[in-house]
């Protein structure tokens, strides 16, 4: 039989994901977008949604006030994974699907870094699915940006694990028969402590979700809907189209009722007797049980239910922060165990300490 032991309380004493990352001194001039722009020529296709996300990130990073050298972007492989080359921070363009694992090693050994992962729907959910779920469940302090274009861009347009059923591509000429993942549902099921979603084209929403994600202590996953004009153009058009947008996008605000629609035509999410929920016109709510979003609820079930409002037809798509809870992070705890062992033994190992380790407990002497 195995035994379990009380791990004690998390030792960082802060829910701030950037607490241990050096910040710029107050009196230094604020960084600008240019400070985060590298000298590399950006090579995405014209019109690619990745440009929009890059511009948003470059202009948002100065807001964090961190030292540039303490920011690291690690990516996998895919169009989206070229991202680090264009940012003047530290960066590693690694191999397909493995960025969360590499970032885990880096984040655990270096608490002074703000670690970001950039990944695509294929990179994160297909080849790298295993690393993604384990980074989330462990709650390693990192911010994961999942660029979801519902297609494999770099390999020229095969269907991906988020493609809608029936998607016609070169590898699915009769339509794909795969059932897709909902990345938000997946992340919630994987015990993620922070899950958000934003549209590439909605810069304000994107920045505010990114900021909350960066400041979250633990693993934060942000799904970003990204258009690939070459292989999957218009995948999110229904959400961008001004005439339909309001009726489809459900903007999540913790502590507020979940609603969709415009001032004039607002619908409110209420619970049904069968344990489900439905949107009803505001005027008809009456005494019905209104769903109030609580991103900080311990139990992820309500957030999961919200993630399921989303259907392949995108009739109701929640945007914003689904879940934002505190839980001890893996890296803080790993470091705490090492630090405690070192402290208890009286500080970093000296030559004598190493000598004692080499000798062990059972020695004998000759001569």
């Amino acid at each position: 039989m195995t035994t379990t032991t009380d791990l004690g309380m998390p030792t960082t004493g802060t829910p701030d994901g950037l607490a241990h990352v050096p910040h710029l001194p107050q009196d230094e001039p604020k960084q600008t977008k240019r400070d985060f722009t590298s000298d590399q020529e950006v090579r995405w296709c014209p019109g690619c949604g990745d440009y929009v996300i890059l511009a948003a990130v470059q202009s948002f990073l100065p807001d964090l006030g961190l030292r540039r050298e303490n920011i690291v972007f690690v990516s996998g492989i895919g169009c989206s994974s070229r991202f680090p080359y264009y940012l003047d921070t530290y960066g590693m363009h690694s191999i397909h699907g493995r960025a969360p694992a590499i970032a885990t090693g880096l984040a655990t050994s270096r608490p002074d870094l703000s670690v970001w992962v950039v990944t695509g729907d294929g990179d994160a959910l297909s080849i790298g699915g295993n690393h993604l779920i384990h980074a989330l469940r462990r709650n390693v302090n990192m911010t994961i940006l999942l660029f979801n274009n519902q297609i494999y861009g770099l390999t020229k347009g095969q269907y991906s694990p988020t493609s809608r059923p029936g998607t016609v591509t070169k590898s699915s000429p009769l339509g794909s028969v795969d059932a897709p993942f909902n990345p938000v549902s997946l992340a919630l099921g994987a015990e993620a402590t922070f899950v958000g979603r934003a549209m590439e084209s909605d810069r304000d929403e994107l920045k505010s979700v990114l900021r909350a994600a960066a400041e979250h202590r633990g693993a934060a996953l942000v799904e970003i809907y990204q258009n690939c004009p070459i292989f999957n153009d218009g995948a999110f058009e229904a959400l961008k189209d001004r005439t339909q947008q309001a009726a489809r996008i459900v903007r999540l605000h913790s502590g507020e009722a979940v609603t969709v629609g415009t001032e004039e035509d607002r619908r409110v999410l209420v619970r049904t007797t069968g344990g489900g929920s439905e949107f009803v016109p505001e005027a008809e709510v009456g005494a019905r049980d209104v769903v109030v979003h609580d991103a900080h609820a311990d139990d992820p079930s309500a957030a999961f239910a919200l993630s399921r409002l989303d259907t392949p037809e995108m009739s109701h798509v929640p945007m914003g922060i689904f879940r934002q809870v505190e839980r001890p992070t893996y890296d803080d705890q790993v470091r705490a165990q090492v630090d405690a062992a070192v402290d208890t033994a009286g500080g970093p190992a000296t030559d004598d300490d190493l000598q004692a380790l080499l000798r062990g407990k059972d020695t004998w002497t000759v001569g």
Binding site: V72, R98, G105
Partner: protein
């Protein structure tokens, strides 16, 4: 003290064999510790099934532990046991074939029931049908005597009492070979301290076994094996995996960089993960990853951040790590990859030894992706090999593969504990400032500007102001590290990476040729060190000159290796694979080396190798 006669022996090989649940590995370990404390030289060979609890009393469930100890230096765990302890019919049946006639066999008669005999296909009891006539058999009712000795332990069930029978056996063998039992008593106290009755029962069984030897007439004599002359020093007994873990920690200490291990459990490598997980006091971080790919990725991520990044595994895990190791080749970051080889292909023989991953670690990656390969030679040598692996990785900013195998990993030998002051110093310089000026005379950092001597690129870790840069698996432009698809640049980078590995400084291979007139050379690598040394000793003792050499560095090979190979009329290369080193030697040096190979999951025996050497000698005469 014993009233019986004592005979002096120069060497003994004992094999403890029983059911996996009988505690034979523990018994062997304890006997080994007692023997080490006495000052004998020794070598051990644990041999256990892959199944945790194979059906009781069956042949697949047999677990054994062999120990060779002597008053002189010991090179192998011994070909054949002088004494077999068989705890049940299965253990007897599985092992008797290795025991020479005339040797001693101690059997636990209690287990020789009709049912147990039937389980392994004995129609009649070998204890009664005369089939063991040529051996010196001691029938001992080990189980019932143990239970009887524990009659007063009313709080223990019969099953719990029976479980102490391995301590009874240990006590008996300790008496026979005059081993001190104080170490074992200490050990039991620390193990069962919280359960006083179990502790007392085990101690009682241990003493009962000792007393049994002293009082029964069946055992007429005790044996004395005098301490071996060993160089002065402080010694401990280490397995290869323990030595390897200690080597990694020592290297990290000397380099002044923290050790980060990313690993996924796999036999026979897991004990390194276990050992390092309990060394947090030395600043060691261990991360049990979700799979082997992640284990390598975690180590690489930590190395990117300035740690000594290590990943440990066996052959199947190496296959999974290949792409990440290739990334480390391209990124030119230090990464230590430890492969404790086991029988393959696929799951193969998880608990048995083999040397068949050599070509996998040399070539099992896409593209031209050379990396240094080091092989440990003996359990204790795993310590030095680990230090060497970290030295090369950090000096040259490259992944390094360190090869060990199941035989070294679990086998043990006395180790002269080095003084920390005598360990090699490791100089690790992290980049801290720009290393070039651009066309405008501005200082700039170029991540792929190489050290002219080592060809290593700078190790510039995140957090260093002014050195922000991007690296990745796409081919990089020489010096700048920018993405480059230029044909000439690619050719240059491929050759630079090769030149860097080719230029790793490794010591010359030493040839052992005492008479200086040998015409044949036996050349090995890895864990065949002991068996080859023992076999050449046998051949030399028979008056035949034979030279011997062992390569620690397989990539790059020692600079003098070609000359050494060409000096002999014939070169014999024993390997536990189908000839992988031989293939490398032939292709590189165009020397017609002869392979001697065996793929049985077991180390070579001295007799077998001596035979192969003698045959080769006859061919050149």
């Amino acid at each position: 003290m014993t009233s019986k006669t004592a005979q002096t022996l120069d060497r003994v090989v004992i094999r403890f064999a029983g059911d996996s649940g009988d505690g034979m590995q523990l018994t062997g370990d304890r006997f080994t510790s007692e023997t080490a404390a006495l000052g004998n030289d020794l070598s051990t060979l644990p041999n256990f099934p892959a199944e945790i609890r194979a059906p009781q009393g069956t042949l697949p469930g047999v677990s054994s532990f062999q120990l060779h100890f002597a008053d002189h230096d010991v090179l192998t765990p011994g070909d054949a046991p002088d004494v077999l302890v068989a705890m049940n019919p299965a253990a007897l049946k599985a092992n008797i074939g290795d025991v020479p006639r005339g040797a001693t066999v101690i059997v636990n008669t209690d287990e020789f029931t009709k049912r147990n005999l039937g389980k392994v296909g004995y129609e009649t009891s070998p204890l009664e049908d005369g089939s063991l006539e040529s051996w010196h058999v001691h029938p001992v009712a080990l189980t019932s005597i143990t239970v009887e000795a524990l009659a007063e332990f009313s709080g223990l069930s019969r099953k719990e009492k029976e479980r102490a029978k391995n301590m009874f056996a240990l006590g008996l063998l300790s008496w026979m070979y005059t081993r001190p039992t104080t170490g074992t008593e200490q050990f039991l106290k620390s193990k069962f301290g919280a359960r006083p009755e179990i502790l007392e029962a085990n101690l009682t069984a241990l003493h009962a076994g000792w007393n049994y030897g002293e009082t029964t007439e069946d055992f007429a004599s005790t044996y004395v094996v005098a301490p071996a002359p060993m160089p002065p020093g402080t010694y401990r007994n280490v397995t290869g995996n323990t030595a390897l873990a200690l080597g990694l920690v020592s290297a990290s200490h000397r380099a002044g960089r923290p050790l980060v291990l990313g690993s996924y459990p796999i036999t026979p490598a897991s004990d390194i993960l276990h050992a390092l997980s309990s060394m947090k006091r030395h600043g060691v971080t261990t991360i049990q990853a979700e799979d082997e790919i992640a284990g390598a990725g975690i180590a690489l991520g930590a190395a990117y951040g300035g740690a000594v990044g290590v990943t440990t595994t066996s052959g199947p895990g190496i296959a999974l790590k290949a792409e990440t190791i290739g990334l480390a080749v391209a990124l030119e970051l230090p990464l230590v990859v430890v492969d404790i080889q086991r029988g393959g292909p696929s799951t193969g023989l998880p608990t048995k030894t083999e040397q068949a991953d050599l070509l996998q670690v040399m070539y099992g990656r896409n593209g031209e992706s050379p990396l240094p390969v080091i092989a440990a030679q003996t359990p204790a040598d795993c310590f030095d090999a680990a230090l060497d692996a970290v030295r090369i990785a950090t000096t040259y900013r490259t992944p390094v593969v360190l090869l060990s195998d199941g035989y070294l990993a679990n086998g043990s030998e006395p180790w002269s504990v080095p003084s920390v002051d005598d360990l090699p110093q490791m100089h690790v310089d992290l980049a801290s400032e720009p290393n070039m000026t651009d066309d405008n005379g501005e200082p700039v950092f170029r991540p792929y500007l190489r050290d002219p001597e080592t060809l290593a690129r700078p190790w510039a870790v995140p957090g260093t102001a002014g050195l922000e840069h991007r690296i990745g698996g796409i081919e990089k432009a020489d010096v700048t590290g920018d993405i480059s698809y230029d044909p000439d640049n690619h050719e240059k980078m491929v050759r630079l990476r090769q030149a860097k590995v080719d230029g790793v400084t490794v010591p010359d291979v030493e040839v052992d040729d005492p008479t200086g007139d040998a015409r044949i050379l036996v050349l090995g690598w890895g864990s065949t060190y002991g068996p080859i040394a023992a076999a050449t000793r046998v051949v030399r003792n028979a008056g035949q000159p034979v030279a011997r050499a062992h390569v620690r560095h397989i990539n790059p090979f020692p600079a003098n290796l070609g000359d050494v190979l060409r000096r002999y009329d014939r070169v014999l290369v024993p390997e536990m694979n189908t000839g992988q080193l031989a293939m490398l030697l032939r292709s590189k040096y165009l020397v017609d080396v002869r392979s001697h190979t065996a793929i049985r999951g077991l180390p070579f025996t001295t007799v077998e190798l001596a035979g192969a050497i003698t045959t080769t000698l006859q061919e050149v005469q």
